[in-house]
């Protein structure tokens, strides 16, 4: 079972490795139980979590609270008119990005859809560059050319931020393909929504992932809704992850409210990707508190009570906080300090964004072609642009 080290890129599915996958990933029954209220199972002592130190746990908590405070601040800025277009907030889903990214090694990569602030901050992007991007400023991570849906940080193995539902699923496949081609023992986590599972390219990608043994891990962040369409109204068959089965891809359903469970789930799939170069489909059940984009009406398709129920009983940050307090490894004061710092940094990032300059009109024409950005290495002739700023 050489996994990554097969001679050809198109090796046949390895039956041994599939069995291993089945072992390492949970069975449907098990996972269904977890999702349907088996909150009892404690993952904090599971393989992926048992060695976490106090500092590491606090750091995970801090990352989640920082994402939330950043986004809450961005919502205020949106309401004040500083941010245009769409603002798809990740609030309620933080454990998925933070838990997942916390398991990654140097050769593991991630790519996601437009609800991308959480993943961006989890890989280590800074508040300032992210807030400035939302404001459309020159100091933004994409120099103001990408906006909320299109954050990128290739130096952190983070490949965006993609606005077309499902459009990133073949890209994630390609990142995994390149890793394998270059004999790297890495994987690509490709995040997507429940609604995105109904896009055709996803299934083309699953077929290729399995056929070519590519180390891609599709993570369906199932927050129950595709905009205002509940899963029961958009998807036939349940659970969504089971759609991986005919492709011989291991799948599971797990809770995204529990950071430790997310980490264990990802760890199992990473093992299968790293050791056997096999893909997985992980459905992680989560919930978003805000409108699809913040300006969208929220009352047409779900009740206030439903949102309250999640906030009260399943909030990923609160759940972790309770665990840490119960374990007695942190004090309320320590957690408060983290929160206060997060809020302060979020406010500071809004000030930074506000004070930053807008891009110059001449920058409209930068970053279109590598070649025109690198005139010293120009190889072509002729005119590349046909209408340019005066």
């Amino acid at each position: 079972m050489e996994g990554l080290h097969h001679d050809t890129i198109i090796d046949p599915p390895n039956s041994d490795s599939s069995e291993n996958d089945a072992d390492s990933l949970k069975s449907v029954e098990e996972t269904k139980q977890t999702v349907d209220g088996d909150i009892g199972k404690d993952f904090s002592k599971s393989e992926a979590n048992k060695l976490l130190t106090k500092e590491e746990k606090l750091n995970l908590y801090e990352q989640m609270i920082r994402i939330r405070r950043f986004e809450e601040r961005s919502l205020r800025s949106y309401q004040q008119g500083h941010i245009g277009g769409f603002l798809h907030l990740y609030i309620g889903q933080e454990a998925v990005a933070v838990g997942s990214v916390s398991m990654l090694g140097d050769d593991d990569h991630i790519i996601t859809a437009y609800r991308d602030h959480g993943h961006a901050l989890a890989v280590g992007m800074e508040f300032d560059e992210c807030m400035a991007e939302l404001y459309g400023k020159k100091t933004g991570c994409s120099k103001g050319k990408g906006g909320s849906m299109h954050f990128f940080a290739p130096d952190k193995n983070y490949w965006g931020g993609h606005g077309i539902v499902g459009g990133q699923t073949p890209l994630g496949l390609g990142i995994a393909y390149a890793l394998k081609y270059n004999k790297k023992k890495g994987a690509c986590l490709c995040f997507m929504g429940d609604g995105a599972t109904n896009q055709g390219p996803f299934y083309e990608s699953l077929n290729l992932a399995s056929l070519w043994n590519l180390p891609v891990i599709y993570i369906i962040e199932n927050n129950g809704y595709s905009m205002g369409t509940a899963e029961s109204r958009h998807s036939a068959g349940d659970p969504l992850a089971k759609r991986a089965e005919p492709f011989d891809i291991s799948w599971s359903v797990s809770s995204g409210h529990d950071l430790f469970e997310v980490r264990q789930t990802i760890s199992d799939a990473l093992k299968s990707a790293h050791e056997n170069s096999r893909p997985s489909v992980l459905e992680i059940v989560t919930y978003r508190y805000r409108g699809h984009s913040v300006a969208d009406p929220d009352q047409t398709y779900r009740s206030k009570e439903e949102i309250e129920e999640y906030k009260t009983n399943k909030d990923p940050i609160n759940l972790l906080k309770e665990k840490l307090l119960n374990e007695g490894i942190v004090t309320d004061t320590e957690l408060k300090e983290i929160d206060i710092k997060a809020k302060g940094d979020a406010d500071a990032s809004a000030e930074f964004a506000d004070a930053s300059p807008y891009p110059d009109p001449s920058e409209l024409m930068d970053d279109i072609y590598w070649e025109t950005d690198n005139p010293d290495n120009k190889t072509s002739e002729g005119i590349m642009f046909f209408e340019t700023p005066q």
């Binding site: 890129i9 198109i10 790519i111 290739p154 390609g174 190889t379 072509s380 002729g382």
Partner: protein
Amino acid sequence: MAIITYREALNQALSEEIENDPNVVLMGEEVAQFKGSYKVSEGMLEKYGPERVIDTPISEAAFSGLAVGAAMMGMRPVVEFMFWSFCYVAFDQIFNNAASIRYMSGGLINVPIVFRGPANGGTNVGATHSHTPENFAANTPGLKVICPATPADAKGMMKAAIRDNDPVCVMENTILYNMKGEVPDENDYIVPLGKANVLKEGKDMSIIAHGKAVHSSLQVAQTLEEKHGIFAEVLDLRSIRPLDVDAIIATVKKTNRVLLVEENKPFCGVDSQVAFIIQDQAFDFLDAPIKRISAIDAPQAYSKALENIQIPDHDRILAKAMELV
């Protein structure tokens, strides 16, 4: 210099670049075992193995997107579309992802990828298999588009496309695959993108064309000369984006009369942009209104009887040329 076919020239370009750079791979439907639907990749699987010459399932969206993802990571994939017509099911991957990721990332990422395959009508395969999307692609900032018309250009421009650090759409033509011509053997034979080529000098009018229309234009130029004593200059655009505007303006200033010929459909076709540029930059040099001839504005017809009329042929181009004098 050897005399080889357009098909063999492409094969040379692909083979040489696979040998030159370990990051280059060729993938697509039937490219490996089957040797390519049009035998462009004949012998390559045997030579370079299945890691470099890769058969894909019929999943244009997935393998195009896969190649874009791999290109973001520094590989240089060459994606073959059996026909460019089939790129429409992968539109999102080409037009959103390959074309826009550099911009949306503020220049952090580049996508060194080649999408290639035949893009032509004229083979009696009906509307779904006869698209000429060079105008769509050229309408998309972030993409480069070339339409090599000769074996030498097929080699030199394909090599330039593969070495290019941006996405390049190479539009070939099944009818040209068997065309023979002199092609330099050298491994570093490169025809840069964005450089048009005067294939026939003339003083009385300029015929500007790209792709297979270049050859029909050359025939018409010969008739004009032999039968009417009119000396037409024929300019092969070769590259659509970047576009050799200097060469276009130079020939217009020389002959003062212009006929634009393309097998693309007329509305927002490549030549509507070319016509705009000419009137904008060389209006005072025109002795007559610009004339233009494109494919007749209907979905591509199956029947030979109809399709032969639909694509600008010798007589239709000649008639248009005569309107200029």
